[in-house]
C-alpha cells in the first residue's frame, strides 16, 4: 500500500522534474546562442513566480511557466512570450485585473486565468491588452468579470480561448471579449459562455470566425466597425444572437443563430447598416429571426440577403417599412409563425424579393409550378388580416394562434372587402428550399422525443389492454358481499331464517278516519313487530314526495318483515312506483326509509346491499351480453365476500343459461325481466322490490315469472311489489296496502283481498251512513276506501253486486252506485 502511494507521488514529481530538465535543457541550448531569451518558472526553478521571471526577461524572451498555482496580478510591459505548460493557474484572488499587457508583440498562451475583481467601473478583466499586435491564445479564463479586453490593440489575435463569465446577474456581468478602437483584430475559435456581451466598437477590418457565443446578453455586438467579417460563428441561447450597428461592408456568412429568446429575442439584427452581405446563415427558433432596421442608411448601399435559412422563428423577418433597396433572394423561409413582420406603419415596397427571376422559398406558398422550372407560376403574397390588426394594435397579439385569429384571416380571404394590405410580394417564389449542402445544421437527438412518444403509445396500449383484461376478469366474477344488517336490528340469522308467516291482523284504513289513519296503521304494524321482537326489514315512516307543488306520495308509513310479501295496490298514478323509487333513494323525499336498519339516505350502500330491484321496464346496457351484464352488476355488491350466488347460479335460477351470450338488446320483455330479477338477486338480498313484475308480459312469461317469485318467496325472500294485476297479489302477497292519490287508503291481509276482478264499486254516501257502511264491509273482508262523499269498494269478477247485498242485509240503504273497471 505504502509502495503504491510512494509510486503515486513519485511518478508525477519525476515527470515534472523531467519536464523542467527538458525545458531547462532547451533553454540552455537556446541560451547557447541567446542566453537571456528563455526563463522557466516553477517551484524548483530559478524563478518561482512569473513576476520574477518577467522582471528578469529581456525583450523578446520566452517565459515558460510550468504547472502550478501562481498569484496575480501580472504585468507584461515589454515584449515577451509568456508560455504556460500543463495549464498553470494565475489567480487574481478576486481583485482587479489578473493579467495586463501593455507591450506590443507580446503573447500569452496556455494559462488558466481566474479570479478577477467584480468592479464594472474599473473594468476588472482576465486579460487586458493595451498594445498592438498581441496574441492571446489557448487560455482558459474562469470567474472573470471581463474576459479579454483589447483597448487600442490593433492587429491583435484572440484565438481558441475558453471564457466563462462570473456567476452574476446579467446586468452586473462584464463582456466576454471586448474590442475598443482595435482595427484588424482576428477573433477565432473561442468559446464564450455566460458573459454579458462580446463587443466590437470602433474596430474595423476585424474578423470574427468560428467562435461560439452562448448564454449571454448579446452574443456578438458590433458597432462603428466597417468592413468586418463574421463567419461560421454560433450564437445560441443568448438574449440576442448577434446585433450589428452603424457600420458598412459587413460580411455575414455561415453563422448559426439559434434559440435566442430573450426579452428582445433577435437571432441576427441589423441597424443602420450599409452594404451588408449575409449568406448561408441558419437562423432558427428565435423570437425574431432576422431584424433589419434603417438599413441601408443610404439607398446606394443596399444590403443583400442570399441563401439564408430562416426557420421556425416566431417572426422570420421583422422589417422596418422604411427599408429601401435591400435584396432578398434564394432564402428559405420555413414555418415561421409569422413569415414577415412589419415593424411600423407602411409597406415593404422598397425591398426587392426576387433578382433575375429568382425569389425565395416560402413554406406557406400555395401556388404551383406548372413548367417545372423550380419557380412558382404565381407570386407569393403574404397578407394576413390578423397580422395587420396586430401590427396596428399590438395588444391583440394575445390572440395569436387562436381560432378567432384564423377566423379573421379566413373572413378576409372570403370577403375581399376586408382584404388586408400586402406585406410581401415575391414575384418568383421558389417551390423548394435551396439549402447549401454543407450548412452547419444542428442534429438534435431523436431519442428523447422518440422515447416520450413511444412511452405515450405504450401506456395507451396498456390502458386499453387492461380495460379489456378487466372485462374478462369480471366475466368470472364470483362472490359478493352480503347484506349486513345494522346493529340492533334484524340479525343475519333472522334474515336467512325460513319464513314463518303469520298473517297480519286485518288492519285497514283510509288515512282519514280516527281508526284508519295511515299513521295508525303503521303504528299498529309497528306494535305488532315490537310484540314479536323482530324489527321489520323495511321501515318507511311518514314518506312524502313532491314533484313541484304536487304531493305525489302523501305521508306514507309501512313496514315489511322478513319473509313477508306486501303488495302496493292501486290505480295508475297512485304513487306505487314513486314509493319504490324513494325506497331505492332514486328520488329525494321527506321522511325516513330504513332497510335492514340502514337509513337509505345516510348509508345507501349498506341499505341497497339488502335489497334487489326489478323495474317495470328494466333497462340495461344494450351492448352487453346477459353474462356480462350480470358480471358488471356483481362488482357493485363487493367482490371479496364469500357468500352469494355466482353468475352461473343466477343464470340457472332464472332460466337464462341458454341466453347467456345474447346481447341484452336481443332479449324479449320476459327475458329482460328475468335478467332484472337475476341482477336483483346478486348477493341474495333478503328483500326484493318489484315494480309491476308481470306487466306487459305474455301469459307464459307471466306464469314463469310468478313461479320464480313464488319460489323465492318460499325460500324466505321478502317482497314489496307494486301491483296492478290481481293475480300477482293473489299469488304472491301476504298483505295488501291500497294506495290512492299518493296516500294509503286501506291495508288488508291478502286473505281478505277481493280485488281479483279488477273493479271498484263507488257508493255515494256521506256522514254516518258512510262510516257504518265502511265498517260493515270491512268486517266482511272488503277493501274499502273512504272519501268525504263516497266509498270505494274493491269487487271481484262475478261478485260486483255482493257489497250491495251485504249492506242491504246490514240494514244500510244505498240509493245509487257506479262501477269502475280497473285498468
Amino acid at each position: 500500500m505504502s509502495r503504491r502511494l510512494a509510486r503515486t507521488i513519485a511518478l508525477p514529481a519525476l515527470g515534472l522534474a523531467a519536464l523542467a530538465a527538458a525545458v531547462a535543457s532547451a533553454g540552455a541550448r537556446a541560451g547557447a546562442t541567446a542566453p537571456a531569451a528563455s526563463l522557466t518558472v516553477c517551484p524548483t526553478c530559478p524563478y518561482h513566480t512569473p513576476q520574477q521571471a518577467l522582471a528578469a526577461a529581456p525583450p523578446g524572451a520566452t517565459v515558460t511557466v510550468l504547472q502550478g498555482q501562481y498569484q496575480g496580478a501580472l504585468l507584461i510591459d515589454h515584449p515577451v512570450r509568456l508560455q504556460g505548460v500543463g495549464g498553470p493557474v494565475i489567480d487574481g484572488g478576486g481583485q482587479g485585473t489578473v493579467v495586463r499587457i501593455t507591450a506590443q508583440d507580446s503573447r500569452i498562451e496556455g494559462f488558466v486565468v481566474r479570479g478577477s475583481g467584480t468592479s464594472l467601473d474599473h473594468e476588472d478583466t482576465g486579460v487586458s491588452v493595451e498594445a498592438p499586435e498581441v496574441v492571446v491564445a489557448n487560455n482558459r479564463l474562469e470567474d472573470v468579470l471581463f474576459g479579454i479586453y483589447l483597448k487600442q490593440a490593433p492587429g491583435s489575435r484572440i484565438e481558441t480561448n475558453t471564457i466563462t463569465g462570473k456567476a452574476l446577474p446579467l446586468a452586473r456581468r462584464g463582456d466576454g471579449i471586448r474590442l475598443w478602437y482595435s482595427r484588424g483584430v482576428t477573433i477565432t475559435g473561442n468559446t464564450v459562455t455566460g458573459a454579458r456581451d462580446d463587443l466590437l466598437w470602433f474596430s474595423p477590418d476585424s474578423t470574427v470566425a468560428n467562435n461560439q457565443f452562448r448564454a449571454g446578453r448579446y452574443g456578438l455586438h458590433l458597432m462603428y466597425s466597417d468592413d468586418c467579417r463574421a463567419v461560421g460563428n454560433v450564437f445560441e441561447d443568448d438574449a440576442v444572437g448577434a446585433y450589428f450597428m452603424y457600420s458598412v461592408g459587413l460580411r455575414l456568412e455561415r453563422n448559426l443563430a439559434r434559440r435566442n429568446r430573450g426579452p428582445t429575442g433577435i437571432g441576427i439584427g441589423l441597424r443602420d447598416m450599409d452594404r451588408v452581405e449575409a449568406r448561408d446563415n441558419l437562423i432558427l427558433d428565435n423570437h425574431v429571426g432576422l431584424y433589419v432596421y434603417e438599413s441601408p442608411r443610404a439607398s446606394d448601399a443596399p444590403n443583400l440577403f442570399e441563401d439564408n435559412v430562416v426557420a421556425y422563428n416566431d417572426a422570420g423577418l421583422a422589417l422596418d417599412p422604411a427599408l429601401r433597396g435591400d435584396v432578398f433572394r434564394g432564402n428559405s423561409f420555413l414555418n415561421n409563425q409569422q413569415q414577415v413582420r412589419l415593424d411600423g406603419e407602411g409597406t415593404l415596397d422598397g425591398i426587392t424579393w426576387a433578382w433575375h427571376g429568382r425569389g425565395n422559398f416560402w413554406s406557406d406558398y400555395t401556388g404551383y409550378d406548372a413548367d417545372g422550372d423550380g419557380v412558382g407560376d404565381v407570386p407569393y403574397v403574404s397578407r394576413r388580416m390578423f397580422e395587420q390588426l396586430a401590427s396596428a394594435h399590438p395588444e391583440l397579439r394575445l390572440f395569436l394562434l387562436s381560432p378567432a385569429a384564423s377566423a379573421i384571416d379566413w373572413a378576409a380571404m372570403a370577403f375581399p372587402v376586408f382584404t388586408p394590405n400586402t406585406v410581401v410580394l415575391d414575384p418568383s417564389p421558389l417551390v423548394r428550399p435551396l439549402l447549401a449542402a454543407d450548412l452547419p445544421l444542428p442534429h438534435p437527438s431523436r431519442l428523447p422525443l422518440g422515447t416520450a412518444a413511444l412511452g405515450m403509445l405504450l401506456s395507451t396500449f396498456g390502458l386499453l389492454a387492461g380495460a379489456l383484461r378487466g372485462r374478462r376478469a369480471r366475466d368470472r366474477a364470483g362472490a359478493v358481499a352480503p347484506c349486513s344488517p345494522a346493529v340492533g336490528t334484524v340479525s343475519r340469522d333472522e334474515i336467512a331464517r325460513p319464513p314463518t308467516f303469520t298473517p297480519f291482523p286485518s288492519v285497514s284504513g283510509d288515512g282519514r278516519g280516527a281508526e284508519t289513519l295511515p299513521g295508525a296503521t303503521a303504528e299498529a304494524s309497528g306494535e305488532a313487530e315490537v310484540m314479536r321482537g323482530e324489527p321489520p326489514l323495511l321501515q318507511v315512516h311518514n314518506l312524502v314526495k313532491r314533484f313541484g307543488t304536487a304531493r305525489v306520495v302523501d305521508d306514507i308509513s309501512l313496514a315489511v318483515r322478513r319473509g313477508e310479501a306486501v303488495a302496493l295496490w292501486g290505480p295508475n298514478g297512485a304513487g306505487k312506483t314513486t314509493v319504490l323509487r324513494c325506497i331505492l333513494g332514486l328520488l329525494r323525499y321527506q321522511g325516513e326509509v330504513r332497510v335492514a336498519g340502514w337509513d337509505v339516505r345516510r348509508d345507501p350502500k349498506r341499505a341497497l346491499r339488502c335489497l334487489g330491484y326489478v323495474a317495470q321496464e328494466p333497462a340495461f346496457h344494450a351492448e352487453l351480453t346477459v353474462a356480462q351484464t350480470l358480471a358488471f352488476y356483481h362488482r357493485f355488491k363487493g367482490a371479496q365476500a364469500a357468500q352469494g350466488a355466482s353468475v352461473a347460479e343466477l343464470l340457472d335460477l332464472t332460466g337464462l343459461v341458454p341466453h347467456r351470450e345474447k346481447r341484452v338488446s336481443a332479449l324479449s320483455g320476459g327475458m329482460r325481466r328475468k335478467l332484472a330479477l337475476a341482477v336483483a338477486l346478486i348477493g341474495e338480498p333478503p328483500l326484493l322490490l318489484l315494480d309491476e313484475p308481470t306487466a306487459n308480459l305474455d301469459e307464459q312469461s307471466r306464469r314463469d315469472l310468478l313461479a320464480l317469485l313464488t319460489q323465492l318467496k318460499q325460500r324466505g325472500t321478502a317482497l314489496l311489489l307494486a301491483a296492478h294485476h290481481a293475480d300477482e297479489v293473489q299469488v304472491l302477497a301476504d298483505r295488501v296496502v291500497r294506495l290512492d292519490a299518493g296516500a294509503i287508503v286501506a291495508e288488508v291481509a291478502a286473505a281478505g283481498f277481493r280485488g281479483r276482478g279488477g273493479s271498484r264499486l263507488r257508493l255515494p254516501l256521506s256522514g254516518s251512513p258512510r262510516d257504518e257502511a265502511a265498517r260493515a264491509l270491512r268486517e266482511r273482508g272488503y277493501v274499502v276506501a273512504e272519501y268525504p262523499d263516497h266509498l270505494v269498494v274493491e269487487v271481484g269478477a262475478g261478485h260486483k253486486a255482493s257489497p250491495l247485498l251485504e249492506l242491504s242485509r246490514a240494514g244500510i240503504s244505498v240509493e245509487d252506485f257506479e262501477l269502475e273497471q280497473e285498468s
Binding site: 394562434l401 387562436s402 381560432p403 428523447p448 405515450m456 323509487r581 332514486l586
Partner: protein, 276 residues
Amino acid sequence: MSVDAVSAVATKELRDALRNRWFLMDAGAFVLLSFGLSYLGLAGGGLAGLAGFGRTSAALISLVLLIVPLMGLSVGALSLTGERERGTLATLLAQPITRKELFAGKWCGLAAALAAALAVGFGLPGLIIAAAGGGGQAGPYLALAGLAFLLALAGLAVGMLLSAFVQRTAAAVGLAVGLWLVFVFVGDLGLLGAGLAMQLQAGQLLTLALVNPLTDFRVAAILAAGASPETLGPAGLLLSRTLGGWNLPVLVGLLALWSSLPLVAGYWIFAREDAV
C-alpha cells in the same frame, strides 16, 4: 368510496367512450390531423435537424384548440344524460353504489378515454418525427400533451356539469356544441372586437381573455414551447412582468380550476337532484 365500484364504472365508461360516435369522430380527426401536420412539417422542413416536434407545435396548438375541448365537452355532456335517457341510470343507482362513486367512475373512465385519444394523437406524430430524423426535446412535447390533457379535462368537467342538470341527450349535446363555439370563436372574437372598439388596455384584455380556458391553454402552450412572452405582445409582457416565473404555473392552475370547479358543481347538482 369503493375502488372496485369506481373502477367498474370507469372501465365501462372507457369502453363506452370507445364506441361513442362523437368521441371516435373527434379523436379520429385529431389523430389524422396531427399526423398530417407532422408529416407536412417534415416535408416542409425537408432536412434533418430542422423539422422537429417543437416546430410543429404551433400548428398542433391550433388543432388542440379546435378539437380537444369538443371531445371533452361532448363525452361529458353525454355521460349522465345518456344513462338517464336509456333508463340505465336508475338500474345503476339501485345497486349498492353511491352517486359519488358513480360520478367519480364516469369521470375516471372518460378522462382515461381522453388521455388515450391524446396519447395516440401526440404519440404518432412524435414517433414519425423522431423516426424521420426530426428529433427534438421531450420536454416541450410532453408539456404540450399535458396541457392538452388538462384542456380536455376542463371540457369534460363542463360537459359533466351540463349532463348533471340537462335531462335530454339532444339538449345536452346542443348546449355542449354551443359552449364550444363560445369558447373557441365567439368569446375571442368578442374580445377582439371589444378590444378594438373600446380601446381596452392590455391588462384588461388579458384578464378578460384568461377567463376562457382555451386562452389559458393557448398562452401556456406558447410559453411552454419556449416562445418569448413578447410573442403575445404587450399582454404577454404584462403577464410575464406581473407573474415572473409563475406565469406558467398560474395558467396551469387556471386550467386546473376549470377542470375541477364545474366538476364539483356538477356533482353537487347530481347528488341533490332526483336521479329519474
